[in-house]
Symmetry: C2
Subunit: 147 residues, 2 copies
Amino acid sequence: MVDIIHRVGIAASANEVYNALTTNVGLAKWWTNDTSGAVNVGSIIKFRFGGDGPDFEVVELQPDSIVRWRHSGEMPVPWMGTEVSFHLTRGKNQTYVLFSHFNWKEPSDFMGHCSTKWAVFLLSLKEAIEKGVGKPYPDDFHIDHDE
Amino acid sequence: MVDIIHRVGIAASANEVYNALTTNVGLAKWWTNDTSGAVNVGSIIKFRFGGDGPDFEVVELQPDSIVRWRHSGEMPVPWMGTEVSFHLTRGKNQTYVLFSHFNWKEPSDFMGHCSTKWAVFLLSLKEAIEKGVGKPYPDDFHIDHDE
């Protein structure tokens, strides 16, 4: 199994970051503007990118601390069996977000693409909270010339 | 062992990307402006960030295709025993860079930080080549409030 790991520090309370990870309005400000279904543990969140996109089941919510999702559905195929987690911890003047997209079966070009793209979206999360404007799809930063 | 993997696509020839990864002038445009020692296989490249920074020995150079470095020295400690590779492949209208910083002993907060920061620097590489201006240290994009 291989994992993607990232970490950013956001100048905001853990509660502000937690809200951006657990509500449709918050998620729509940094990953994709077409987000629905985020309610509580057991919810299926539908992230759509111009029509299609992945579903994730919310499997753990610890207020202001842990958010964990399990990939649900059949696309993209390499994401089947993977999970995503966000661990929030307080630091000086910031909340750290330790992100992981884990349980990939193998490293690949696509995994490399997703790793870089997750970094871009986590920086979008940071800017959405700190500056009020993130770069969710379809305004996301392009990391290659296929997108 | 755990690895960091990223992938970007740059609108340039493989040779232009290769030059940005194998010359002091090229490296100084996207990672740190204080880069010296890059010559050929066996060279020790010194990357400095305001005084200190890591050394890497160049262990493989395949023109327009593969660049591989082995960490050399004692800092940062979690980098001891790690290697960095860049694999270049041609795609439609672009050169893909598959980047890996591999052989980490364990995942950690610091590894998460480095993974996100490598993404930022690879996007700096992309902009340095495509637009003529990257964001090497000390003009690098900050991903937390410790930097």
